[in-house]
């Protein structure tokens, strides 16, 4: 009995450090892209509807993350893109609380659209863990104290990805999970959050990949579902050992979503599979080929699946049946993943034009189209009843 209580308590431990309103990592709580927040904004513009706006020193493809009263953002600057920035803002006022810089130790080579601030940081109540496309990684306390720093390219010199790296780290029970698929020494690793030292490091195929691991609980085991070009593998978060691989679940940019006993994977458009303790069922529940993804990941919300392709084709499908409800060509191109909350779904294009849809409508009826007038590639964050949007120039807290 005591053992059962302990197992239950341990399973709950990661969740206890975060509030419901937090958006601690890439695509928010467990990378779902969904917030439980209410009273989220519908309309805004450059000049209205914002709680605050704070300038950023440079652009970045990463998302802001929000934990408690702090918002953290990363940027990369300089003609070589080798100046790395971590900034912390007061979530209520937008006041910049601190700004730290690192000099890149790995190659800043990348596709012109990307940059070295492409990996979204992950935060908890103690601070933030920032990772960059150069393999530089640092943990800061919430007051800006550097807790530890690692240069992964110094540690593992063959790490290389001239397209640029962008997979985001996640936190699991006191471990920082570091995805490092690249053309050189590739691995998934867990490092301790206190000193940044390896707890385990599991070899991965030498292939470039930009996906972020999804975390799920299976009994007393926490699994990391990590997709790569050759399939989706589940790793034991405690040891790094691989438990199973689902070969049809391969991917390299967008990531899937677990919703109850189902997983929606961005393969063949979007395909729904049953998932249980042993893994993913071979036979799919349905496949929606029209749900092209590209860079953005799907979001499952209110019994529906929403996708937008890199070219702006938005599709809404019933989650249960796969029946397409509607599709629409949105203006612009898309890198950011859609996010959802308070009955709304937000689609932010690369010019920071955000189309807001009602999640309940049975046809395409935009509630609003909001234009911030600046380039923006990062997925928005939802917290404190606000949508936090980072553009190339500024961080916006949209809402009240």
């Amino acid at each position: 009995m005591i053992r059962a209580i302990l197992v239950f308590a341990l399973a709950l431990a990661p969740a206890l450090t975060l509030r419901a309103a937090d958006w601690p990592q890439f695509r928010g709580p467990n990378a779902t892209g969904v917030s439980a927040d209410k009273n989220l904004p519908t309309e805004w513009s450059k000049d209205k509807g914002q709680k605050w706006k704070a300038p950023l020193p440079a652009r970045g493809v990463s998302s802001p993350v929000v934990v408690g009263d702090r918002v953290y953002v990363t940027c990369a600057s300089g003609v070589r893109g080798d100046r790395l920035h971590v900034l912390c803002f007061d979530a209520e006022t937008g006041k910049q609380l601190w700004h730290r810089q690192l000099q890149a130790t790995g190659s800043p080579a990348c596709h012109p659209k990307g940059g070295m601030a492409a990996n979204t940081p992950v935060a908890d109540e103690t601070g933030v863990y920032a990772m960059f496309g150069t393999g530089d990684m640092a943990a800061f306390d919430k007051d800006g104290t550097l807790r530890w720093y690692r240069s992964l390219v110094t540690d593992y010199p063959t790490i290389t990805n001239a397209v640029g790296m962008a997979a985001s780290p996640v936190l699991v029970a006191g471990k920082l999970i570091v995805p490092m698929d690249n053309a050189g020494e590739s691995f998934l690793a867990a490092v301790d959050t206190k000193y940044g030292k390896n707890i385990w490091k599991t070899e991965r195929p030498r292939e470039i990949n930009w996906t972020t691991p999804i975390v799920r609980q299976v009994g007393s085991t926490t699994e990391l579902l990590f997709a790569g070009p050759k399939g989706l593998t589940a790793y034991d978060a405690a040891t790094g050992t691989d438990r199973w691989t689902f070969k049809a679940g391969g991917g390299s940019v967008p990531i899937g979503v677990i919703d109850g006993d189902s997983i929606y994977l961005p393969v063949g458009g979007v395909t729904k599979f049953k998932i249980d303790d042993k893994g993913i069922a071979e036979k799919s529940e349905w496949a929606a080929k029209d749900m092209a993804t590209g860079y953005p990941s799907p979001v499952v919300y209110g019994g529906r699946v929403f996708t937008v392709s890199s070219q702006g084709l938005m599709v809404c499908t019933e989650a249960k049946t796969g029946k397409q409800l509607y599709k629409e060509r949105l203006k612009g191109t898309y890198s950011a993943s859609p996010v959802a909350g308070d009955g709304k779904v937000y689609f932010l294009n690369e010019l920071a034009v955000c189309t807001v849809l009602s999640a309940k409508a049975d046809e395409y009826e935009p509630l609003a189209t909001n234009d911030l007038g600046e380039g923006s590639l990062g997925t928005p964050a939802i917290a404190h009843g606000r949508v936090y949007i980072r553009t190339d120039k500024a961080l916006y807290a949209v809402g009240k």
């Binding site: 601190w98 000099q103 550097l146 470039i208």
Partner: protein
Amino acid sequence: MHFWNCIPLVALGAALALTPVQAADEDTTRALTALKAVTKEGKGNEDAGPAWKTLVSKGGAAIIPALEAFDDDNATAANWLRTAVDAIAENEIAAGRKLPADKLEAFVKDTKRAATARRAAYEILVAQDADAKGRLLPGFLNDKSADLRRDAITNQLDILEKLARPTIKADLEKLFTFTRDKDQVELVAKKIEGNGGNVSVSEQLGFVTFAALVGPFDNTEGKGFAVAYPPEAATNISATFKGKGGAELKWANAVPTEKSAAFDLNTLLTKHKDAVAYARAVVVAEKEMPGEVRVTCATAVQIFLNGKKLFQREEYHHGTPFDGHTGRGVLLKGENVIVLKVCQNNQTEQWAQAWQFQMRVCDSTGGPLPLEQKITMKDKTQTHKLGFLSPEAEKKEEKK
């Protein structure tokens, strides 16, 4: 005062400014020792964390000792120190205290200090003294710090164009000698051309514009990358080799296929997949000197200098960053043989057909070295300045 005359004066000022800085207290010294002791995989992080706090707690008094502790050869420690400098500066400004401007300025001017530290000091100084920029930048035209030099060249170009003196062509030609970043080299060259002058971008960048080539050797499944085929030694330029499929191969002289000194192997050796080619170039140095062999190439490469491997990277078709591969070595007095191994894989995508390279030899700033290039054409051997382009080569069009 003439612009160029001020450079030695600034240098003299720097020398005079090298007054001893205040000795760090014992706590600071211990903290700096701990921060400089961090090594791979987080070793030393346990001590570095408390040391960072100690250093930052010392406030403005610790900023110069922290900057002095930077070492460009220990990037991990430099990043611990960089964030401490940020924190100290931030705390001092928040407390309404000024940082020691005179000491910061002396530090910035001290070219023996680490480039990253000088840049950090420069930015702190400029943030609290708007005049510092105009005062300091003219002295950085020939700086070892790439960022300071870049800003100095931008600043000087702006001044020269605003003044538009009769001597502008000569002024621009002088400025051209300081350029290092490719975009600035090309920009200033274009300005000179616009003023009736002519300079060689190829010579400024130190491109290899003559090479002997041999290939293809087998690279099926990428295995050829690890095979030391006989041309790697490149001792006998008259030797014959068994190539891929048993073909008899010999070194053949080649000149670039583009004005930018790119050697397109698909053109020069005909198109091959799963292949390895070697390029051999001879540069002549008047005396022993450190040098860098920088290569721009979309596929896997290895760089050898006088039989010693300086660099290797096994990555295919993820981009072609300029100077993406750098081998550092020592050029000997007399002839130096550079061998470049260029591999190709079997990807079939249209964008994965490139099999070419661009190679240059330069100093650590990317600037030209006093090197000649040995050129053998039609059994005649000549030496020309490294980067020399024949009149025919000058007319070649760039690939779009």
